[in-house]
Symmetry: C2
Subunit: 297 residues, 2 copies
């Protein structure tokens, strides 16, 4: 069992930290929100007064922060943790941030001989609570070997992937979520066309699932209300995964594409659609509500 500093106890970080406690790790936690710290302390974690204090005696540091600037601020510079921790510390940043910052922090850590991985997650709040998250990891093979047993405390073993070198975890997540947005909108268009021509969306969904149109949106997250039980579309688009977060992830994907010169035309179209849907006040709703936007065009 490891001594872990856990930084960032939001909707995702909170349940992730609790799952690490449940499998027996020793946790010292830090978050600006005191109530978030108290909730995890109630299950056995110690509370630190700062990220640096949490990291002091930790073998492993795990961060779950909102954006690249928070990750850079935590780890880089004179006051950052990289300058303070011992070289045998393992650092896992599970935040979803821009690949450029992830690569920058990873390279700074490598220069100091510290194992750092970007390990963004997939699966959302439900998987965080259930301990069945997917992890997409960027960094060295040696760091991945150290990280995997720790990540298994929060995720499904068969969904913990070594995507490639530093930053590759963020690239993989951005690419995946862009593809998700593309096929969610494409699925919405296909269902809207069919329904307008008198087809039952449930029947058309079954046909496309059995055919070459098949995709994750059809399989487990059908955007048409009441085609599938237990999904946001059958619950007035309560999230689930918010439009706001999809717009964030599409922005990261467009940065990834731009920085390597790939013209991601479908991804840009998805970004335009989700941004327009968000601008109409749908940011807090589930991302499958893009069906309503498609029908309203």
């Amino acid at each position: 069992m490891a001594t872990i500093a856990f930084l960032g106890l939001g909707n995702m970080g909170g349940p992730m930290a609790k799952n690490l406690l449940a499998v027996g790790h020793l946790l010292t936690v830090f978050d600006l929100v005191e109530a978030a710290c108290a909730a995890v302390a109630a299950e056995g974690a110690s509370i630190a007064a700062s990220a640096a204090e949490a990291a002091e005696s930790a073998d492993v540091i795990i961060s779950m922060l909102p954006a690249g600037k928070h990750v850079a601020g935590t780890f880089l510079g004179e006051g950052g943790l990289l300058a303070k921790v011992s070289t045998d510390t393992l650092i896992l940043d599970a935040s979803t941030i821009d690949a450029a910052t992830a690569r920058q922090v990873g390279e700074a850590a490598a220069e100091l001989g510290i194992d750092f991985m970007d390990t963004p997650v997939s699966g959302g709040v439900a998987a965080a609570a259930a301990g069945t998250l997917a992890f997409m990891c960027g960094g060295s093979a040696a760091a991945f070997d150290r990280a995997k047993p720790i990540l298994e405390g929060m995720g499904s073993s068969e969904k913990i992937f070594h995507a490639g070198p530093a930053g590759a975890g963020q690239v993989a997540k951005a690419a995946n979520n862009m593809l998700l947005a593309v096929h969610m909108i494409g699925t919405s268009e296909a269902l809207a066309m069919g329904e307008a021509h008198g087809l039952d969306p449930a029947v058309l969904s079954e046909i496309m699932k059995a055919s070459s149109g098949n995709n994750w949106s059809l399989q487990v997250y059908n955007p048409w209300p009441d085609v599938m039980e237990g999904v946001p579309s059958s619950n007035n688009y309560q999230p689930g995964f918010m439009v706001d977060l999809m717009v964030k992830d599409l922005g990261l994907a467009c940065e990834v594409a731009e920085s390597c010169g790939v013209d991601n035309q479908m991804g840009k179209k998805a970004m335009a659609a989700y941004s327009a849907h968000q601008a109409e006040g749908n940011g807090p709703r589930d991302f499958s509500s893009i069906l309503e936007w498609v029908k309203a065009q």
Copy 2:
């Protein structure tokens, strides 16, 4: 066993007719290409001198023709088959054509009391030869009950769907193939972004298959060369399913959307991409070669 008139013995119709012969149906066939007729006659079919002659004593007429104008010309008007056949004839048009023509022929047949279904197929030449096609059927429930045992001679029982009323088979196929084009391009963009950032396309494919980006292109038709065995991308994009045919199907999908007022923005983007790729001389190549177009933008 039925007495069947089979009209149109091209790359798809030829093997479909042979499979019907193999399960014991009596076939009279017609095609403008004599060699195509001779090939099916060698397996037991009779050759007719015209569509009308083939249809004369048939219980069932199956047509597999290139476009809506051929289907309309075969069935409608004074010289058309609807005016000649008995009302207990079952007509199955397996061609991929515009939904408006399919609906027009279906309604003309219904007025005469003739059972007509549009039954476009999915699966391509390989599935036609193997007798494992999918059929998407538009027309009455009674016609579907009559059609299914016949279609089972050419397709997989669990992939024979009653999509809805007249024209619904064509709508379902157009919607499905549009969605296929959308996720094939989206998948190509995601893989191109990843590879440009140093990720192995095979590893990124595995990650996205296990995540919410999962779709048919990743599962069975990966567009990146040598990620998957036995697919066109690993064989210099030999078809498979040609770019020319995808452009045809996207054109039909855009007609379907236009005619019901759905703004299929992803579908239109896919149409623009495939048309541009076709214009660069790639019409006869497999449609997964759109990866090359994505990388070249």
